[in-house]
Amino acid sequence: MYAGRCYGYFYRLTGDRDLSDELLSELFIKLVEKFGSYKGGAFESWLFKIASNIFHDHLRGKQRRRKLLDTHRTQVEREPDLNESRCSDEGQERLDRLQVHLGRLDADTRDLILLRFYSEMSFKEIAEHRSEPIGTALSKLHRGLKKLRELMED
């Protein structure tokens, strides 16, 4: 149940299945190690806070960050090919289009949108986790989702 959502979160952030596998493994191992520090409350919020921290730790690694940027660049370059193959596999094409357009958003906004969507955390929790005012988080989310909608509707 949680594995699917966490995997979706990682996959939408990275666009890389192998990397998502790796991050998912890391998340659940960390979950076992940190379980003693769980002080009740919404388990999902706690889980996704760890997931978000793992992703940001991952981003901090220079080599991995370079690889991620390359992945996104490749995806953007691949977009015309996807449009050409639309008739062959409509579902897969739509799936990839979302990934491509998510890749066009800035990393911070993308993380905010995906954290909100997959974690089901409230804005208050998201704002606290990101150490920013709730109005800022709300405004960034609105701008990001609006842009995503426009990109998808083009």
Binding site: A3, G4, Y7, G8, Y9, Y11, R12, R17, S20, D21, L24, S25, F28, I29, L31, V32, E33, R94, L95, R97, L98, I113, F117, Y118, E120, M121, S122, F123, K124, I134, G135, L138, S139, L141, H142, L145, K146, L148, R149, M152
Partner: protein, 171 residues
């Protein structure tokens, strides 16, 4: 996706925007989130889920082992500390300890002998022994804070001075 916070989204938006902007923002958010819902991310492969489960089990086992080792180590350390403390409090007073009298290590032959050269070597040896014991007692004195121990070291020092004085008289 079910979202407990979504019911309050309109209210939340109205805290930061006027009514018309909040309505528009809410519509944007809802439409975009529907797009996300209709484009589900792939799921992890069953093999991957099995691997993760195995890793979690192994990690949990390692964690339990570490906790057990830590508990055993802590118990052993506590036992050692208690043993030392009990030994210290139950130790006989320093004045009754065997080996505190240094006269016993000086053989009577040294006193009776007229061979000064040989006696000098013996005396040098005994003096070094006394110095070594003295150093050990100083170390003990530094470690022990109890008055009785400090007193015994003081007594021992007096004895050592007395012994050295006696040697001086003999020459």
């Amino acid at each position: 996706m079910k979202d407990p916070a979504r019911e309050n989204l309109a209210k939340l938006l109205r805290q930061f925007m006027d009514d018309s902007a909040a309505c528009s923002a809410e519509a944007d958010v809802n439409v975009a989130e529907r797009i996300l819902e209709t484009h589900p991310a792939p799921l992890p492969s069953p093999e991957m889920v099995s691997t993760i489960k195995a890793l979690m089990i192994a990690s949990a086992a390692r964690r339990h082992r570490r906790i057990r080792i830590f508990r055993v180590a802590a118990a052993a350390a506590a036992t050692v500390v208690l043993t030392v403390l009990i030994g210290r409090y139950n130790a006989p007073p320093a004045t009754n300890r065997p080996g505190v009298s240094f006269a016993s290590i000086i053989p009577a032959a040294v006193w009776d002998s007229d061979d000064l050269a040989a006696d000098d070597l013996d005396l040098a040896y005994f003096t070094s022994q006394i110095r070594q014991i003295e150093a050990q007692m100083r170390a003990v004195e530094a470690e022990e804070t109890e008055t009785r121990c400090t007193d015994s070291v003081g007594e021992l020092e007096l004895e050592l001075i007395a012994i050295e004085t006696e040697f001086g008289k003999g020459w």
